[in-house]
Symmetry: C2
Subunit: 667 residues, 2 copies
């Protein structure tokens, strides 16, 4: 029965799925309070142990009667003495004889002797004192029985059982109410409540240990030492959340460093306490090898590596158990199931979703979610490595006609922003080495609830733009600089591009783009508070020994700086390159609009390219150089798209979002 | 701004939706720990406050170098001295000069002086001692710099930045990371972790008070007094679960009886503490009127009744606030939103789902779930009341070809089993008075995860059958007795019918049904333990003054008893009706197979029709009368359906499920 080891041979993905499925994750059953049972799955059948309702119950407000007393009442109304009233939640104080009626409310117990209810709308209660003697009832009993002389005129005939729910008619004691494996939604909770059940036997959630490995990990909330290469632990929290989503109970262990003994101890502790142990976080071969060795020594490795990208370093096995070397099934089963996830977050979540989540759901008894996929066409070409199946992370955007365009979003190894810039994956077969632009592909969405972003923008990053985006519903913005925005807009991918500084629309191939509006922003040199070096402008960067931090070549801010330096060179009659080469740090290109200013704040530079607003925000000094326009250019094919129109409307009244941003003005 | 009252006029459903949407449920924002943030929605934008990565980071295992030192290495490998090693999570202890390399692990800080990484697969580390002198490096530096004489042969050229992730390349401080309104899935949790965020600002879940009304309500787990008409509180728990599902925080209040002062106090308490107050549970007009009056007096009633079935008694308004009579917006806004749900559970959940859940989701910032609907054809005709739009609860079954058949499942007012026997609703317009069999309809599923049951069975209830059903995945079984099963099978609805006792297949119109197998069960009279009355058989019921409980006319058990009594009458040469009429309780028809026995156990009868197995289970006495077969008949058009084949397989080996059931035998 035990799976055979497969060393170093990359397993076929289907095979990997089978091996993971063969691991025994079942966590047994437990009893939970009805209030906590939502989303859980019944471990065993629940039979009714009582009748619902437990008594013959009036289904309408009206009068309880003997049906025989109402025959003919449609043609010739019948007047009956009212011998009492019965309300819901009380024991009837009356018994009906022939020719009597009792007022009754919905939900009340039918009084003995009654077998039907006449709805109140088909009756008229007559005033006892006034009508006690003269009421023309064809079947009126003596007024003495009536409560205070009350009488009711019945205007319709009823049959026995009419408007009555008999005891057990809903469900009766002994009946099968809900089967094992039933997922408990509000509807099942309602039925269980009716049956008086306040505690239900459910499948236990498999406990899933999450052990991140790597000396460099620091938990979110704690400070990083960048010089020591520390990074925040991403996988522990992302995978824990994914475990919860799949119906497991995550148990996050403190991360372990590259120490075999500590790793072994943590993994064995986790195996003793949990049904499944997941490791993740290690991206280095040495750490992976260390985990590999522990699983080999203290468990059983069933699979090493799967022929899919990402996912090559996936490990599958069992860990714990008295002797992992033994081939005895029983011994091995004492341990926990084990899966080693790749270290990069996008890879870890992809492998988790593809191979591990189905096993957890199966253990928890949860059905596979309705798979959601969207067909679309590749907006750009993508090369893939032949010979290995690939799950290509992609983003989506809809064109004006509602057609879905698909674009790859991987920013490269380990980027965490890929997590949120992607909507799903395209499963590219091993024998495909290229997806062409315009090719039809199917995108498996990360969840059935994923919707394409309403708006896709690409371009310069800017604080006013962030505020504009906040007012839109689910936009996606890729900060790839003004040059990146223009390039993508020319290729027709985004709905809008955001461009800062001067550009030539014809030269950029975006002459037909629509200018939706924008603003201007004051830029210059961000310096330490109080400007201790007395920097006066770009010329000082050239002439003095000041360290500088620039923006990247894609940035519109850098374009404006380069233009200013070109003017300076021209004024001085010198070569432009000579000017830039004499600036210490001209090629030190920071990623985002605040980055150079933050380097200044950290004492790492004397000046940085940036905005007056950023200097004000960070409490730094500012040497103004100029003002540049920020323009929102719309894809000419998307002008009728709802989100583009909404953005156009917001930009009409852009002053609102500029409030409090120093140096920003309506254009 | 304030909505106008609309008394007693049934509102159009669209109008009702607008009025509910106009209620202000927004609960503001709160901060939650990252671990608890799954499924929550960001209340405000989150910008990166640090660069990710925070340092120039090796993206691969290999050797950190200056790219210029590797030029030409593809053709002519270069050997460099290895001046140190840098691992992830440590501060580099080396600085690279021209012509040097340092071993580096993925995730490690690039040492100063290095600008690229050569991946380990394209290198070969030479043994320092052996090769220190003789290695043919074209650019080898002095062996003195190398760590213990280590040298590495570089077999490929790299460009500056190759296999390095620059600081901030993933996301940089100041960049917009996630916008307000973003739902937090594992992917967003991953990005937030990377940013070091351990607490996130999220939309608060609206607090939703649930106040059930009615003197008759008892919480599940507590005993009922049937004589006093007590029932378990279904709506509090079902609606609370539905509130959770919609993203609200349910607050279940103790139910209130028909006491205006107590109701007013509870509603005002709830309004002070919650964003929305729901009442439900009252089915009687008087209780509804009472709630109505409290809302009128201490709040504002905006809508009373909606033109939809179920839902007529829906109330919408606001409650609390200093003076509900005031027309001042401000005063009214101090209170909570209020919605009165109908009393019957199916109605309450339908109205909740249709009108209230969207408002809660909107307040919590959650998107509307992908609506799921299935097209199918009506398996039977259904009359509807013209003039009022109706949400008809229906069940689904797939035929062999995968076509979906739709059938109404409402068992009548207040039935809780309708909750779980239905899969969704058909929205029937007000001007339609009939759905014909075969008519195409669209079913709005209760949730996108609803799947039609794998198997639909109708017929006799039976303890062995319950066990068989437990072994199938998501079957649905409607216990409508053997006669009901035969009728439905003849009409072609179910996959299988289960029939106990004798029947004539030709007469029933099921001659072409396939007999999948079955078992036999011993039946007779269940009597108190020890059989104190010394009952010997059916003749005693006729001849002696014994009170009896029968099963309903649909039941196969009753058929067998009636046959036995007919034989008795024939033996005695008397009229059959005379025999049954002399049995006290022959018409006392109980709903389920255990019900008569339970009446005996409760001391309510001297004998009940039932099974030996039931008597054994309940510790009662048993007087055997006969044995009857229980047969599972398959719809001839469904024989190839997977679940029918699976059931057929189970019945092959039915002995397993009969184990421990007294009087059951394989047929």
């Amino acid at each position: 029965m035990s799976e055979r080891k497969e060393f170093r041979d990359l397993a076929d993905p289907e095979r990997a799925r089978e091996v993971v499925a063969s691991l025994d994750l079942s966590a047994g059953a437990e009893r939970v309070a009805l209030e906590d049972a939502r989303g859980r799955v019944l471990a065993e059948r629940v039979d009714a142990t009582l009748d619902v309702p437990g008594f013959d119950r009036a289904a309408m407000d009206g009068y309880a009667v003997r049906a025989t007393d109402t025959y003919g009442a449609d043609a010739d109304p019948v007047t009956l003495p009212v011998v009492g009233s019965v309300h819901a939640g009380e024991t009837p104080g009356v018994t009906l004889d022939d020719g009597q009626a009792a007022e009754i409310s919905t939900g009340a117990v039918m009084p003995a002797g009654a077998d039907a209810v006449v709805i109140v709308e088909r009756t008229e209660e007559l005033d006892g004192a006034a009508d006690g003697n003269g009421a023309g009832g064809s079947d009126g009993d003596s007024g003495d029985d009536a409560e205070g002389g009350r009488r009711v005129r019945i205007e319709t005939a009823v049959t026995p059982g009419e408007n009555v729910m008999l005891a057990g008619a809903d469900i009766a004691a002994g009946e099968r109410a809900l089967g094992p494996g039933t997922e408990l939604t509000p509807r099942e909770i309602g039925l269980l409540s009716a049956l008086g059940v306040d505690e239900v036997p459910v499948r236990a959630e498999p406990r899933v240990a999450i052990v991140s490995t790597g000396d460099e990990l620091v938990r979110p909330g704690d400070d990083l030492d960048h010089r020591a290469g520390q990074i925040h632990d991403v996988n522990s929290y992302a995978v824990a959340t994914a475990v919860e989503e799949a119906g497991g109970e995550p148990v996050v262990y403190p991360h372990v460093g590259d120490d075999t003994a500590a790793m072994e101890e943590t993994l064995l502790d986790a195996a003793a306490d949990c049904d499944l142990v997941l490791t993740s976080g290690s991206t280095s071969a040495s750490a992976v090898d260390m985990v590999y060795r522990v699983v080999e020594d203290r468990g059983e490795l069933l699979l090493h590596g799967v022929a899919i990208k990402p996912g090559k370093p996936m490990l599958v096995g069992r860990i714990g158990g008295e002797s992992g070397d033994s081939e005895s099934d029983e011994t091995v089963r004492d341990g926990a199931a084990y899966v080693g996830l790749p270290g990069y977050p996008v890879s870890a979540l992809t492998i988790f979703r593809t191979f591990v989540a189905p096993a957890i759901r199966s253990s928890a008894g949860l059905p596979e979610p309705r798979t959601a996929s969207i067909d679309g066409e590749m907006a750009v070409a993508e090369r893939t490595e032949e010979g290995r199946r690939r799950l290509l992370a992609v983003g989506l955007v809809e064109d004006e006609a509602g057609e879905t365009l698909v674009y790859p979003v991987d920013k490269g190894s380990g980027a965490t922003t890929t997590l949120t810039a992607a909507d799903g994956v395209v499963d590219v077969p091993a024998d495909t080495n290229r997806l062409s632009a315009g090719e039809r592909v199917t995108v498996d969405l990360f969840s059935p609830d994923v919707r394409p972003p309403t708006l896709l923008g690409v371009g310069e990053d800017d604080p006013a733009l962030s505020r504009v985006l906040d007012r839109l519903d689910r936009p996606r913005y890729l900060a790839r600089g003004s040059r990146g925005g223009l390039r993508e807009l020319r290729d027709g991918l985004p709905d809008v591009a955001v461009v800062a500084g001067p550009f030539d629309a014809d030269e950029e191939g975006v002459a037909d783009a629509a200018d939706l509006g924008g603003w201007s922003r004051e830029w210059g040199l961000v310096v330490p508070a109080g400007n201790p070096e007395g920097v006066t402008g770009p010329a000082d960067l050239v002439d003095r020994d000041l360290s500088f931090v620039n923006r990247g070549t894609e940035s519109g801010l850098r374009t404006s700086l380069s233009n200013a330096l070109a003017d300076l060179a021209d004024d001085r009659g010198v070569d432009r390159q000579a000017v830039t080469e004499s600036i210490s740090g001209f090629d030190r290109a920071a990623r985002a609009f605040e980055s150079p200013a933050r380097s200044v704040a950290a004492g790492d530079a004397d000046a940085g390219l940036g905005l007056r607003a950023t200097a004000a925000k960070l409490g730094l000094g500012f040497v103004p150089v100029g003002s540049q326009s920020v323009r929102v250019l719309a894809n000419p094919d998307r002008l009728e798209k709802a989100s583009v129109r909404e953005l156009d409307g917001l930009l009409e009244d852009v002053s609102r979002v500029l409030d409090g941003l120093d140096g920003f003005e309506r254009r």
